[in-house]
C-alpha cells in the first residue's frame, strides 16, 4: 500500500521551502533597486535601513543587498535545479542501461564512471573554466558531470535487483525489447529511489556551486550567487557583518530545508520496504 499522507515535518519543510523559492523569484520586484544598480544617493556599505529601502543594507559598491541576495538565490537555485536534472537524466539512463543489459556494456559504462570518479573535481572544474571561460552553462555541465556518477551507481544497483523480478520476465515474454522494458518497466520503478536521491543531490549541488563561487570560479560579476555574496561579505565581515549574514542565512536555511525534505522522503521510502514494494 502506498501511503499518500505526508508527515507534518514534511509539510512544514515543503511550505518553508516554497516560501524561500517564492521570495527569491518575486522578491526583487518589490525593491526599487536592480541587481547591479549602484545607489549613489545612499552610502557605501550602509547598514540595513528602511529609509532608502535598503532592507539588507548595501555592499561596498553601494548595491542593494536585499536584491542581490535574492538574485543570487535565483542563480544558486537554478544551478541546483538544472544540475540535479542533468545528473538525474544522465545517471538514470546510464545506470538503468548498465544494470539491465549487463555484461560488457555494464562493465564499460561502470568503468567510465570509475574513471570520472578518480578525476579530482576541482582540477576538472578549473580546467573547464580555463579552457572555455567562465559561463553559467559550463557550471551546469561541470557539476552535472560529477553528480551523475553517484546516481548511476545507485540506479544500477537497484536495476540489478529489479531485473530479476517476475514482471520484467513477464514483459520479456510479451515480446518487449530491452529498451522498451527499461523505459516502461525499469524506470518507473526507480521513481521513489530517484526522487529521494534527487532531494539529497539538490543541496549538495547548491553547496558545490557556492563553494566554486566562493573560490571565484563560479558566476561572473555582476551576476552573483549566494556563494559569491558570501565571498564578498566575508572580506568585509568586520566592517559590514550584514553583507555576510544575510546571504549566509539564506543559504543555510535553504540547505537545511532541502536536507530535511530529503530525509523525510528517505524515511518514507524505507518505511515502504524499498522503492519497489
Amino acid at each position: 500500500m502506498r501511503p499518500h499522507t505526508t508527515s507534518p515535518g514534511m509539510r512544514a519543510a515543503l511550505a518553508a521551502l516554497a516560501c524561500v523559492v517564492a521570495l527569491v523569484i518575486v522578491g526583487p520586484w518589490f525593491s526599487p533597486y536592480a541587481c547591479d544598480e549602484i545607489d549613489f544617493s545612499g552610502t557605501w556599505s550602509a547598514a540595513p535601513t528602511l529609509v532608502h529601502a535598503h532592507w539588507f543594507g548595501t555592499d561596498s559598491l553601494g548595491r542593494d543587498l536585499f536584491v542581490r541576495t535574492l538574485c543570487g538565490g535565483r542563480i544558486s537555485l537554478l544551478v541546483g535545479a538544472v544540475s540535479t536534472l542533468v545528473s538525474l537524466l544522465v545517471g538514470v539512463a546510464c545506470g538503468a542501461v548498465a544494470g539491465y543489459i549487463g555484461g560488457r556494456l555494464d562493465g564499460l559504462l561502470m568503468r567510465i564512471v570509475d574513471v570520472l570518479y578518480a578525476l579530482p573535481f576541482m582540477f576538472f572544474v578549473i580546467v573547464l573554466m580555463v579552457l572555455f571561460g567562465r559561463h553559467l552553462l559550463l557550471m551546469f555541465v561541470a557539476i552535472g558531470a560529477v553528480n551523475w556518477l553517484d546516481m548511476a551507481r545507485v540506479v544500477r544497483g537497484q536495476t540489478l535487483a529489479l531485473r530479476e523480478r517476475d514482471f520484467i520476465a513477464a514483459a520479456r515474454l510479451s515480446g518487449l525489447s530491452d529498451l522498451q522494458i527499461i523505459r516502461r518497466h525499469v524506470v518507473p520503478n526507480l521513481f521513489g529511489l530517484v526522487a529521494v536521491y534527487a532531494a539529497v543531490t539538490l543541496p549538495q549541488v547548491i553547496l558545490i556551486e557556492s563553494f566554486l563561487s566562493f573560490l571565484g570560479l563560479g558566476v561572473q560579476a555582476p551576476a552573483t550567487s549566494w556563494g559569491a555574496l558570501i565571498n564578498d561579505g566575508a572580506r568585509e565581515m568586520d566592517v559590514t557583518p550584514w553583507s555576510l549574514l544575510f546571504p549566509a542565512a539564506f543559504l543555510s536555511v535553504t540547505l537545511l530545508l532541502l536536507n530535511l525534505l530529503g530525509e523525510q522522503l528517505r524515511a518514507r521510502l524505507s518505511s515502504r520496504g524499498g522503492p519497489a514494494a
Binding site: 500500500m1 514483459a171 520479456r172 515474454l173 510479451s174 515480446g175 518487449l176 516502461r184 520503478n189
Partner: protein, 325 residues
C-alpha cells in the same frame, strides 16, 4: 498438425558436469490441444518452458530442439523470439503479485503488448483491454482498468495476467502453476475460466502444475516429469485412472482424499529428490521406487511407446499394477 514439438530438450549448467536440470524432454502439442506437465518442485518444469521462450536462467545451456509452428525456438535470437513472444505465445506466471508492475495501471499492462506489437494508441489499447477484462470475467472492468495491482485481489491479478497474455490473441498459452498462489475457491474459478478461454480463444494450452486435480479437468494430455526426465506421457484420463509408471502411481496415492480414514497417516513417497544421487546411467526414480529391481540401477530406461503415449520404465505395467502394501 503439431503446434509445438519439443525434441530431446536438455538444460544444464554451462560450466560443470553436474546433473542437467532438464534431460531429454520430448513432447508434441497439437493445435487446440492441451498438455499438462506434472512433477514435484525442482523437477525442471518451469525451466523447461522458460527456455522455450529464451528466458533460461543465467549460466544455463539449452540444447535440443523446440519448433513452434515450424519456427525453431532454441538458440533463436532475441529479435526473432520477440516476434513470437507475446503475439503467438502468451504466458502466465505462478505468482500474480510479483508479475505485475506495481507502478503501472492494469490497463497499461494489458494494453502494453498491443501498443508494442500492433502499434495501437493508448486509447485504442485501453478499449481492447476493457474487452479483455470482460473476457476474463472481471466485474466493473472500466474502473479496474485504471487501478494499480495493489488495489486488486490475488485472483483478480491472475485474471489481469491472463488478459495481458491473451491481448494479442496468441495461439499457445503457457500457464506456469497459475493457481498455486491462490486459495481454493479462487482456484476453482480460475480453472473454469481457463477452460472457457481455451474454447473461446481457440487456444492450445501448456499447463505446468503439481496439482493433479487441475490436470484432469483442463488437459487432454499429461506428461509426468521427475528430476528433469520424462517418466510417462499419455492421455490424461487414462493416465490418472490407470497409471503405468511407479512414479505416477505414487503421486496419485499421495493425494489427499476425502474417502479415506482421516486418522491414517497419509502416503508419502519415501526419500527426497536429490540431484547429486542421480546417475546418468540409471533410472532417476529408482532410489525412491518401491518396484525398483536391479536393472533399474544399471540402465536408464529407454522410451517405450504405449497406446496413447510413452513411458520410461523397465517394469511392465502389469507387474506394478498391484501396489505392495
Amino acid at each position: 498438425m503439431s503446434l509445438l514439438s519439443v525434441d530431446r530438450l536438455c538444460i544444464g549448467p554451462v560450466d560443470s558436469a553436474a546433473a542437467p536440470i532438464v534431460d531429454g524432454l520430448s513432447f508434441t502439442l497439437s493445435r487446440g490441444d492441451s498438455l499438462a506437465i506434472v512433477g514435484e518442485s525442482g523437477s525442471g518444469k518451469t525451466q523447461a518452458v522458460l527456455s522455450l521462450l529464451g528466458l533460461q536462467g543465467a549460466g544455463l545451456r539449452v540444447s535440443g530442439s523446440a519448433r513452434f509452428d515450424g519456427i525453431e525456438l532454441i538458440g533463436a535470437r532475441d529479435s526473432m523470439l520477440d516476434v513470437v513472444r507475446g503475439t503467438r505465445i502468451g504466458m502466465v506466471f505462478q505468482d500474480p503479485a510479483s508479475s505485475l508492475n506495481p507502478y503501472l495501471t492494469v490497463g497499461m499492462q494489458i494494453g502494453e503488448s498491443l501498443e508494442v506489437h500492433r502499434g495501437l494508441s493508448r486509447a485504442e489499447s485501453h478499449r481492447v483491454a476493457l474487452r479483455l477484462l470482460d473476457a476474463v470475467r472481471v466485474a466493473d472492468a472500466a474502473r479496474r482498468l485504471l487501478q494499480y495491482p495493489h488495489e486488486l485481489s490475488g485472483g483478480m491479478r491472475q485474471r489481469v495476467m491472463l488478459a495481458a497474455a491473451l491481448a494479442c490473441r496468441p495461439e499457445l498459452l503457457i500457464a506456469d502453476e497459475p493457481t498455486t498462489a491462490l486459495d481454493a475457491t479462487v482456484q476453482r474459478q480460475l480453472i473454469t475460466l481457463l477452460r472457457e478461454l481455451q474454447r473461446d480463444f481457440a487456444l492450445s494450452l501448456l499447463l505446468i502444475t503439481h496439482d493433479l486435480g487441475v490436470v484432469g479437468e483442463l488437459c487432454t494430455r499429461t506428461l509426468v516429469m521427475y528430476a528433469g526426465r520424462v517418466m510417462e506421457e499419455g492421455d490424461s484420463e487414462r493416465l490418472l485412472r490407470a497409471p503405468t509408471h511407479p512414479y505416477t502411481q505414487a503421486l496419485l496415492r499421495a493425494r489427499p482424499r476425502l474417502d479415506t480414514d482421516p486418522d491414517a497417516p497419509m502416503f508419502a513417497i519415501a526419500g527426497s529428490l536429490t540431484r547429486a544421487e542421480i546417475s546418468p546411467l540409471a533410472c532417476c526414480f529408482a532410489p525412491r521406487c518401491e518396484h525398483a529391481v536391479d536393472l533399474c540401477y544399471r540402465l536408464r530406461p529407454p522410451p517405450e511407446s504405449v497406446a496413447d503415449g510413452v513411458r520410461h520404465c523397465h517394469r511392465r505395467p502389469e507387474d506394478i499394477a498391484t501396489a505392495p502394501g
